[in-house]
Symmetry: C2
Subunit: 334 residues, 2 copies
Amino acid sequence: MPFLGVGLGLLILTGSSCFVLGAFYEHCDFLRNLHELIQEDPYAFYIREKLYATLQLFNPNCLHRMPDSCSRMSEIMKYGFPGLDDIRVYSDFVLSYDRRNRVAHWVYEHLRAPCVKADGTNINRKECWYQPDMSVPSNFRANLTDYKNSGFDRGHLAAAGNHKCHQTHCNETFYLTNIAPQVGKGFNHDAWNQLEIYVRELTESYGSVYVCTGPLYKPKRQLVGIATYSEHTRPTDEKWCVEYEVIGENTVAVPTHFFKVILVESKMSGGHPYMEAYIMPNAPIGKNINIRNFLADIREIEHIAGLQFFNGIRRSFFFGTNYSTTPEIYNNFQ
Amino acid sequence: MPFLGVGLGLLILTGSSCFVLGAFYEHCDFLRNLHELIQEDPYAFYIREKLYATLQLFNPNCLHRMPDSCSRMSEIMKYGFPGLDDIRVYSDFVLSYDRRNRVAHWVYEHLRAPCVKADGTNINRKECWYQPDMSVPSNFRANLTDYKNSGFDRGHLAAAGNHKCHQTHCNETFYLTNIAPQVGKGFNHDAWNQLEIYVRELTESYGSVYVCTGPLYKPKRQLVGIATYSEHTRPTDEKWCVEYEVIGENTVAVPTHFFKVILVESKMSGGHPYMEAYIMPNAPIGKNINIRNFLADIREIEHIAGLQFFNGIRRSFFFGTNYSTTPEIYNNFQ
């Protein structure tokens, strides 16, 4: 009889421990698949907290087994998505595509010192050519013919010079999803180029810089009586309008302005990041004008573009959110 | 000795079966959680195929245990999402919010005959009032003050008259996320209202109708020399521009046009749905003009709005994609 009791006890012990083991195995197997999906798909990545919460029966300790599977996408999007419209992941940058305007809403880059250096790389810019991204449905796709004879440059949002570590990275910046119509002389060749160089200098100094670049369609004041709603009686004699040109058969929008939001990570362990933002008009800018004159409040960009930067992180976390236009601000930052 | 052998066999059998049982239990538990999440969250719903694919070790037969948990959201979005920007789920309609313009990109409704009937319901429209949706971040939110003295109506995208089954359904159509600035006389009170009545008549006749409504910002031809890029030399003497007014402190966009895409499900089992689309200018329209004059090609709406309707379903699946403007088209449809 005691022999039977021990046997029964052993049976129950084996059964229950194997049950737990089986559950744990299945749990870890699913977690691995889920983790892979989250690393691959931007929307799964976006709802990752909710997805992991579906697994709360066991505490996911097996997660620690996969530290090396963190993708470049999740690195670039570390500070959150400014918006969620049609997100497209490239090898070294991530963008949200505006299907209505055939120009990106925003392009996010994570710059590191070795990949922005002017020399010492084998990247041949002559091997890069402008091309439409065929993964965009044809009726939302900008084509080369749209830009031809438009009078506008094919201006990079993620600058080609920021992606010198691999030929593919550089090539991909030439997809028309990363391109917007820009005024050439006085803007793309000049002030905008200076801003891009400044970002690369910051990267060389501090090592890790996040940049978000995009177009703006800024409202401006107009007199009443010259536009669409002229038959309407109004209490004021002025109104605000958004007005921008569209070029080519695919009606690619010509932004009125462009913005850059720059976040510099501190070299000090636990140090707060430093942030600044720029708005530049898509128009010829005098050569003697310092780019720091275009420093802007990040909230203005958010309001005009309908984007939200660094969601989940309180603004007080950053250096430089409320700045003057003096160049000394970021001298206190290490 | 044979006793020990039997015991060992029993132990192995119990262990392995309990292992499988444990794995299966954890699998089903997770599947239930995942299924709940997919029913609640639009992005999880969007990537549901990929999410279920993470579970491919066992075949998900336990899925059949939960047939009643299908949410209204997945019913409304049966024919796919036209776009993915900031999707918001209400109790009887789903919309995608345009944070830049403070007006929805699109609003999707699934209408059923009992809920659109003019009488026999206890819905009191006087209990509904226009209100901002406080779940929208404040810098992207339209407020009542934006519409005040603007000269424009607060026009419904999902019509209040389509949601008469519950007071909550009706109340929610008065959130400003579902509202756009519309010309009152000659449009919101007249032609647009006629179109809404027509949709309800279709619903009463056929039982199940899907409607997607939204704003358009349509480009128009302009002479060169009067607008922003006047210093630029151009090969042509005209260009295309998008121009629209913005009202109030929150710069709520006044759409130039509005669209409706209507899909009528066949009463016959296995019958193909019937589809038609309308574009109306946000301007006074003469009382004698038949609404069928505003029939439009769905591809034109897709091109201007940057949206994609019924993705995954081939266009040839529908009746009426290429129609003339005669009212006889849908007489062949049952």
